[in-house]
């Protein structure tokens, strides 16, 4: 591995800015954006009734819970962990909300306690994962059952639905003619906050490093345990918020709210470029992943195409998104080998080094 033998490419002639732009345009998040745009154009031209404001309302309202959970999930998975308990935390938060509100607590207090419950759930996951040293996959499979079970304990098989009309209206309303739901404002702020934390802060930099190599991160002084705890706590907090939204959106606090959503969230962020091995991913990619699934979902439903096709397409997209890169990689490796073989054939003369 000698430098003299390594062909060192000349420094890039492109100016720094132009280099940055071309890199951005070819990145994974950019690719996801193109796919999303193409889908939107296709849906608007081919699906009747797609290009109208109410599409924005219903499409976005449908994906808000997934979108919210996808934000901390992106962070958690980039550090190399996973949180399967997000939907159960949402269910628990919904159950707590129903019971407390029925008990006569003011609405603001109820929401605050729901968020605290979510934070506690995240703390529990984080302590077991980062500090006890158990694999996040195993821990959160356990808490998936535990938190859903606690939701049942809290509310049983009751359903609570008489929440303040103002809150329900806010959860389902939209900005006048634009069709954009009112809740997109806080949701957008949360997305921006997560994007800033992940892509623009020292903490975010360390998350990527941890995902590739916990060991290397520790050697530059990263408190890896605390970082893992914090990401899992953010997951609990935001999932609880998603549970509150879900309850208001469907006007029903039930223990089985958002059941099974964890796999949808994971599918969306993986589609958006997050690696299950950790170290890769972006907030914008995850947002696109959620929206792509949302658009396909909504467009097909408008076209009266059964749920069936949608589920299949989600699965196929997921498989293609992970298989495609390795197909490309093995193709270029094959090309490299062939080129190398040709070079060697033409240049190397068989001078026997061992010949006496």
């Amino acid at each position: 591995m000698t430098d003299t033998l390594t062909p060192v490419a000349a420094p890039p002639a492109l100016s720094a800015t132009r280099g940055a732009i071309s890199r951005t345009l070819a990145s994974r998040p950019a690719l996801m954006t193109y796919i999303l745009l193409v889908l939107l154009i296709l849906a608007s031209t081919m699906v009747p009734r797609f290009a109208q404001p109410r599409t924005a309302t219903f499409l976005l309202l449908d994906v808000v819970a997934t979108l919210l959970m996808a934000m901390p999930m992106t962070l958690v998975m980039i550090t190399g962990d996973i949180d399967l308990s997000v939907a159960s935390v949402a269910g628990l938060s919904s159950a707590v909300m129903g019971v407390l509100f029925t008990g006569g607590m003011p609405f603001g207090g109820v929401v605050l306690i729901c968020l605290l419950v979510g934070l506690a759930c995240g703390l529990f996951n984080g302590l077991f994962t980062a500090y006890v040293g158990l694999p996040a996959l195993a821990v959160t499979i356990g808490t998936l059952a535990l938190f859903r079970g606690l939701a049942l304990v809290v509310i049983g098989d009751n359903a609570v639905s008489n929440f303040p009309p103002a809150a329900s209206a806010y959860a389902t309303g939209s900005f006048g003619a634009t069709g954009i739901p009112l809740v997109m404002l806080p949701v957008g702020l949360i997305i921006v906050a997560f994007a800033v934390v992940l892509h623009m802060t020292p903490f975010g930099r360390t998350l990527f490093a941890m995902g590739h190599s916990m060991e290397a991160a520790r050697f530059v002084g990263v408190n890896t345990k605390r970082a893992r705890l914090l990401t899992l706590m953010s997951s609990g907090l935001v999932s609880a918020l998603a549970g509150v939204f879900w309850t208001l959106r469907y006007s029903s606090a039930r223990s089985d709210n958002a059941t099974g959503l964890e796999l949808v969230v994971i599918a969306a962020v993986v589609l958006g470029g997050v690696s299950v091995f950790g170290g890769k991913g972006s907030i914008w990619g995850s947002v696109c992943g959620v929206l792509i699934i949302g658009v396909i979902n909504y467009a097909l439903r408008l076209n009266r195409i059964p749920e069936v096709v949608l589920v299949t397409i989600t699965g196929l997209l997921l498989i293609i998104s992970v298989v495609a890169p390795s197909v490309v990689a093995s193709w270029s490796a094959w090309r490299h080998r062939r080129r190398r073989a040709r070079e060697i054939d033409s240049t190397i003369t068989t001078a026997g080094a061992l010949s006496a």
């Binding site: 808490t143 196929l316 992970v322």
Partner: protein
């Protein structure tokens, strides 16, 4: 770096080897399974003391019937997890094979039962082969691939079934009787399950390719260096697991009244949980199909046990969650203690 373990006089080793040779508890089950077996025995004992009806013939029969399908699936999952993979598509695959069973009986009322079994197993193996092929050729984590096929299989199932449902009446009595009739006090489908699980466990313990699976899970990179055909073994594990899920699907159709588009939804994480409770480490390398099956038995028994001692039914799922956490925690503590002992031994 003194090596205490090698400083033993040879006579000691010979002696310890001799005693172990006389009675070898590791021959089939390793020590990893003892906590779950103990937990199961204690659970049954205490529940029986609190409510003797728990072990009445009918209660016992329900207990076994409820556990059978999960036990087979957990045993298959143990094969996968021991190689450091996971198969999340098992719930959807079960749904497909269960629906195939219903369709076959509805379309060809006189079809021999054995043919239906073979068809279900073959279909399951085919679905497993799709997973295995994607995992081994694309070298993508099994978790993502099988999450994808979870949706694809479910989609295919919904498209195929539409709103069609097949009920017990559509199937021959002899088939339904498999989960009613008893042989030496045990339902026939449970006997089938026990035989299959025993065969898989023997395969894990006594066949070279079975041992290779543990080597792969123990250290995948080393397995390549050692020349173990990692891809072929992992593929085989997925096909075998698929076949077991196929069998479980056929038995599901025998046990339960209706099969349709949503049969088996959400089973995947329960199956993984059962394997983990049964001593199959999620990071691979250890655990047996028998252990996973006992884990499944424990998880399904606890629900019945809680009911019969009068625990509020809403608590049941929380208890299951706590049990999963407790079992991985116990495993972790045992590992830590072993590591500490090794460190002490070398100091």
């Amino acid at each position: 770096m003194t090596d205490t373990q090698t400083a033993l006089p040879r006579a000691d080793i010979a002696a310890s080897a001799r005693t172990r040779r006389r009675w070898n508890p590791r021959s089939l089950l390793s020590k990893r399974e003892s906590p779950v077996v103990l937990a199961l025995l204690l659970l049954v004992l205490f529940t029986y003391l609190a409510n003797p009806r728990f072990l009445a013939p009918q209660g016992l029969k329900d207990l076994m019937l409820n556990a059978t399908i999960m036990m087979i699936m957990a045993a298959g999952q143990a094969l996968i997890i021991s190689t450091r993979s996971v198969d999340l598509s098992v719930g959807s695959a079960l749904g497909l094979t269960a629906f195939l069973t219903g369709t076959l009986f509805a379309t060809y009322p006189s079809i021999p039962i054995i043919v239906v079994f073979l068809a279900g197993i073959a279909m399951g193996a085919g679905l497993g082969a799709i997973n295995g092929l994607l995992v081994t050729t694309a070298r993508v984590p099994a978790m993502v691939i099988t999450l994808g096929t979870l949706y694809v299989f479910r989609g295919v199932n919904s498209w195929w079934a539409g709103s069609t449902q097949y009920f017990a009446g559509d199937r021959p009595d002899a088939f339904g009787n498999l989960s009613v009739s008893l042989l030496v006090g045990i339902p026939i489908i449970t006997i089938i399950a026990i035989i299959v699980i025993a065969v898989v466990t023997l395969f894990q313990r006594y066949s070279r390719s079975g041992r290779d699976l543990y080597a792969i899970g123990s250290d995948p990179d080393a397995a390549i260096v050692y020349g173990i055909p990692v891809g072929r073994r992992v593929f085989t594990a997925f096909v075998t697991n698929g076949a077991l899920v196929g069998l479980a699907g056929v038995l599901y159709a025998s046990r339960f009244n209706s099969v349709g588009a949503v049969t088996g939804t959400g089973l995947e994480l329960q199956v993984v949980a059962a394997a983990v409770v049964g001593g199959v480490a999620i990071v691979g390398g250890v655990g047996t199909a028998a252990g996973a099956a006992i884990g499944a038995l424990l998880l399904t028994t606890i629900t019945g046990a809680l009911t019969s001692v009068g625990v509020d039914k809403f608590w049941q799922q929380a208890v299951v969650g706590g049990l999963i956490l407790a079992s991985i925690l116990i495993d972790r503590l045992a590992t830590l203690r072993r590591a500490r002992n090794l460190r002490k031994a070398t100091s």
